[in-house]
Symmetry: C2
Subunit: 140 residues, 2 copies
Amino acid sequence: MTQYRNPHPTADIIIETTLQDGRSGIILIKRKFPPYGWALPGGFVDYGESMEAAAIREAKEETSLDIQLKYQLHTYSDPKRDPRKHTVTTVYVATATGTPEAKDDALEIGVYALDEIDFPLAFDHRQIIDDYLAHKTFFL
Amino acid sequence: MTQYRNPHPTADIIIETTLQDGRSGIILIKRKFPPYGWALPGGFVDYGESMEAAAIREAKEETSLDIQLKYQLHTYSDPKRDPRKHTVTTVYVATATGTPEAKDDALEIGVYALDEIDFPLAFDHRQIIDDYLAHKTFFL
């Protein structure tokens, strides 16, 4: 079969957590590699690996957490969403137990209340979090 | 950047239509190439092309219809879903006006009422249509 050039699939994960003061939050990572900045945990899907398996693996690699997937939020494919090359990300919402610890591509871990994520994020992760909040408001 | 081997993204489309007797239906194509059989219209996403643009282009190429996307249903990534190679498909639900005509990879077009699609479909398209029907029942 002819090999065409296709976008590269990735999986990103919104890991829901509860802060010590009881507020709902999610986990962000500070990226070790460009594009720098805070972002959702996630990464490239391997050939032969499902999106769900990639989401669980990437969450573990970057945050040390074992996650349980709750639902698939949406797939984002704007060719300009990733400055490195054309990636298509499928975003999952998950829960986790345990204490996150930065590893692999993550320099640092941040646990943020939903209403305090008012700073710039890498890629289109601002849009993704806005969509997540809208989805939570309308459906959950 | 190192080139990893990734699954290949595709877009498939559930094109909603109304049959002459007033029943709700969707459009299927009979595939010209393996895997043979009836399937949803769809195909590979080009590098630099969004999933939404690919869905509109593939629907046009295979059915001659200009479609309007309604919503994104889900993304399916089981490594065994496509016998050719590992593909990840994002499925859109759309409407269309005009008369479908088979072109490109489509040998034949079928307009089927939702309750008469009781025959085998290529890929995981049976699962996709079942998920679409469940989604319609619960959310629309």
